[in-house]
């Protein structure tokens, strides 16, 4: 379902065809974009507070009022998904004739989806329900464009037989803990409609059975060591083992290998009070580098990159000049034996592979045979790169009835009955407890080995621009390991310093957010709002105070 990384060829070309030539004045055009954004900025400032006092719960909107909801997604490029949503929307509208739902399709290609939302949010014209993925969930929560959903998740829904909404998701609240690290409130601000918490932490490898047979591979590898042995055999047979690309792949593989390193590694560097707050994991990662606790000499950092460096020799020649579409083509043209992809593309491969046998293999487990720092497990809870789901536009708070209808629709969409139907049509995996996955997709589910609470993850990787570019140079032998690690350290250090300064800033950082949440809390108490709302606001406040303390303790001197 994370099609942002995986549009099929036709869609991309269609989208790109529509784009006009990027003009020589694009740069100046950006000024225009900035200005338009700026004009909405003051409004955003005025509204920059966390969720208002709209009552949570499962009550649907009044039946006598016609409510029109708009939802936006990129699912139009995947017919099976589109059909699954169509069915769910029709079923819901049949149950609630007063609610009209319009599903808008906007392709992801060339970042078109995110850029559209960027501008729509600024102009307060964004649809009511928004399908979001990856880091954008955190970004829009931080910008106060989408609603933190914790108050709703903490209560039963009309479809959950008394179970709190959050507990209907596999992994419950703890499944979302990684996602909570991505926003300033430590909140859950989306609900997954497939995949999601507790499942599919690692993308599996699709493989070409014919090519593996040709290379003499008889058994599929379970561990990383076995996997490398298979890759050696494949390469020796003159076949490219892995179809890689220059961006998505680098981020994915960095994430999914480092996710299997030392559980609880960062805890040693921080006091006990910060130990179990998973929502502070990202902050701790930055601070560990900023305070020099983790640097280029760190043995885990070195072990992580040694593993990837060795692995990179099995990627196709020239991978750094190929995007994910090019990597897919390589696999489809039988030029590579393996490719990593998500379950959302299962139908794509099924429809496009006609002349060879293929299969799916779970991501191999890194064991102590490979590195002493292997945790021999997969992380519990969702992987941030894999996060994807539905968020609610914060402007909905201006119309409580509409907000109720939107929440109710999401609760219906994530109900067990609706999900059972949804996953069969979309060919995907449900994030809801008790929903049976289609048989073909079972290799995508990591179950008994998902045991890690605080895996080390990438301790020294700058995920914006530099991380990928520096990795490319290192893996292609254009940069020594020493130079690579030094530059990566410098880059992460700069980012961490900027982050710490921003967090500690009285006007724009955590203190400001605390003031805003304190005011909300006082308002809630004054208006005798429900206890659930008050408790939720209080826990947000406690989290923010803990986060501020963490930054003050470990970055107070450096950042000032």
């Amino acid at each position: 379902m994370h099609n942002n990384f995986n549009q099929n060829k036709g869609d991309i070309i269609e989208m790109r065809n529509k784009k006009t030539r990027v003009s020589a004045y694009t740069s100046l055009g950006l000024f225009l974009a900035f200005a338009v954004a700026a004009s909405g900025c003051s409004k955003a400032n005025d509204q920059a507070s966390s969720s208002s006092g709209a009552a949570p719960g499962s009550a649907a909107a009044p039946q006598d009022k016609t409510i029109e909801l708009k939802m936006i997604s990129w699912q139009g490029q995947n017919q099976a998904y589109w059909n699954a949503y169509d069915e769910a929307i029709k079923d819901y509208m049949a149950l609630h004739p007063n609610v009209k739902i319009e599903h808008i399709f906007q392709p992801l290609a060339n970042d078109g989806y995110n850029k559209l939302l960027d501008t729509q949010f600024v102009a307060h014209k964004a649809p009511d329900l928004i399908d979001l993925q990856g880091a954008n969930i955190g970004k829009y929560t931080d910008q106060d464009y989408i609603i933190p959903l914790d108050p709703y998740l903490g209560q039963p829904t009309a479809y959950s037989d008394g179970t709190n909404w959050v507990d209907t998701f596999i992994g419950g609240d703890s499944g979302f803990s990684n996602l909570k690290t991505t926003n300033k409130y430590g909140a859950i601000s989306f609900v997954p409609v497939d995949n999601g918490p507790g499942i599919a932490e690692n993308r599996p490898f699709y493989y070409n059975k014919d090519l593996l047979a040709k290379a003499g591979v008889t058994a599929m590898p379970q561990t990383w060591n076995e996997f490398i042995e298979v890759l050696k055999k494949v390469k020796a047979a003159g076949i490219t083992p892995i179809a890689a690309d220059n961006n998505r792949w680098v981020k994915w593989i960095t994430s999914w290998t480092s996710d299997q390193f030392v559980d609880g590694y960062l805890n040693q560097y921080f006091e006990d009070q910060f130990k179990d707050a998973r929502a502070l994991d990202d902050a701790k990662r930055n601070l560990a580098v900023l305070t020099g606790k983790v640097d280029k000499t760190n043995p885990v950092v070195n072990a992580e990159y040694d593993l990837l460096k060795e692995f990179s020799q099995y990627w196709q020649d020239g991978w750094a000049g190929v995007d994910d579409l090019g990597a897919q083509q390589l696999f489809l043209y039988q030029q590579a034996a393996f490719i990593v992809d998500g379950n959302w593309n299962y139908n794509f491969y099924k429809e496009n592979i006609h002349d060879f046998e293929w299969g799916i293999m779970p991501f191999p487990l890194i064991t102590k045979e490979t590195t002493p720092y292997a945790a021999e497990g997969f992380p519990m809870g969702d992987n941030k790169l894999g996060a994807e789901g539905w968020a609610l536009n914060k402007d909905l708070e201006k119309d409580p009835d509409k907000l109720k209808a939107a929440v109710d629709f999401l609760q219906y969409l994530t109900s067990k009955d609706a999900q059972q139907k949804f996953v069969q049509t979309a060919m995907t995996i449900s994030s809801i407890v008790g929903v049976e996955a289609p048989e073909e997709l079972k290799p995508f589910i990591v179950s008994d080995k998902a045991t890690l609470s605080f895996p080390a993850k990438f301790l020294l990787f700058e995920g914006e621009v530099n991380g990928v570019a520096l990795s490319q140079q290192f893996y292609m032998n254009k940069m020594s390991k020493e130079e690579f690690l030094s530059k990566m350290q410098e880059s992460v250090m700069n980012k961490a310093l900027k982050d710490a300064k921003a967090q500690l800033d009285q006007e724009t950082g955590i203190p400001r957010t605390i003031a805003s949440v304190e005011k909300d809390l006082a308002d809630l108490k004054a208006s005798s709002a429900s206890q659930v709302l008050i408790d939720d606001k209080q826990s947000t406040l406690d989290f923010l105070k803990l986060k501020l303390e963490l930054y003050q303790k470990y970055a107070g001197d450096t950042a000032h």
Partner: protein, 295 residues
């Protein structure tokens, strides 16, 4: 008396032009001003906006990637200026063709590429450069020259040159139309006189066509300069600045900073402002260097 009669229409003219003027101010100048304003702010495009003085610029100056991108930009700029030549030469040769039919045929050939969307052209080139199944390596293989096969866009020392090579044979449609228009507007007696004086073909190019087309060359040059300095579409689609930073340009870096997940709009605005100043200075220099008849 006469002036009094003209006055109302003069005012009406301004009234009619007013909407255009207002929209130009609103959609052209206000954004530029706003971009300049935000270059001095830490701004996430939404709720965080804080004045930071020259911090963004200080950070840019310390940023290695920015300077790599500036170096790349100057290579692209120099290449683009040199690659103006094929269009210019082709137009002179075409203009000298005696056959109107041939002239027409070449003009059509030059212009027909205009109807192909730029994005398609980029994607075709991207496909041609693919190391495994692209045109270049397949052609080399077919010719028995597989030892010369390259990784093209996948090789950080080659990727930039691959992007420069892309427009081969570098005939720009707009440039060609401007030059042809310029040549056709020149009084025919000049050519007759040069023929009587026995001016050779090379001398004719340097002494007649080149000076007479100064205005057109200047226009094209400014377009090429501004395009090379501020543009990044080709890099975004073809390589996303990689491998490493080998094809990163300041424009692309600005885009990545603004529209990445860290949403550093203030920093990106500052990069934009620097680009604006560079483009302005080089364009002014170029205009001063090539003084056309109009100037």
């Amino acid at each position: 008396m006469k002036q009094q009669r003209l006055n109302p229409s003069w005012k009406a003219g301004f009234l009619f032009a007013l909407p255009a003027l207002l929209f130009t101010l609103l959609f052209e100048y206000y954004p530029i001003g706003n971009g300049i304003y935000h270059a001095f702010y830490r701004w996430n495009g939404a709720d965080i906006e804080k004045f930071v003085g020259l911090d963004n610029f200080a950070e840019i100056i310390r940023d290695d990637v920015f300077w790599i991108s500036v170096k790349n930009m100057f290579i692209f700029l120099a290449a683009s200026i040199v690659l103006m030549l094929p269009t210019f030469v082709a137009c002179i040769v075409l203009f000298r063709l005696k056959s109107a039919r041939l002239q027409y045929m070449y003009r059509v050939v030059f212009c027909v590429q205009m109807i192909i969307p730029g994005m398609v052209v980029l994607l075709i080139w991207k496909f041609m450069y693919n190391p495994q199944f692209g045109f270049f390596n397949k052609a080399l293989d077919y010719l028995g020259l597989h030892q010369y096969q390259q990784l093209w866009l996948g090789d950080s020392s080659l990727a930039l040159w691959c992007l420069i090579f892309m427009g081969f044979p570098w005939i720009s449609t707009i440039g060609a139309l401007i030059y042809m228009g310029g040549l056709q507007s020149i009084d025919g007696s000049i050519w007759d006189a040069s023929q009587i004086d026995g001016v050779g073909p090379i001398r004719k190019a340097f002494s007649l066509e080149l000076p007479l087309l100064k205005g057109q060359i200047k226009l094209n040059l400014i377009t090429v300069i501004v395009g090379s300095i501020t543009g990044y579409g080709t890099q975004l689609i073809m390589t996303n600045g990689g491998p490493g930073f080998s094809t990163t340009t300041p424009g692309l870096y600005m885009y990545q900073k603004a529209f990445g997940t860290s949403a550093e709009y203030g920093y990106a605005s500052a990069v934009g402002l620097i680009l604006f100043v560079i483009a302005l200075l080089i364009s002014l220099g170029a205009m001063k260097f090539i003084r056309s008849e109009e100037a």
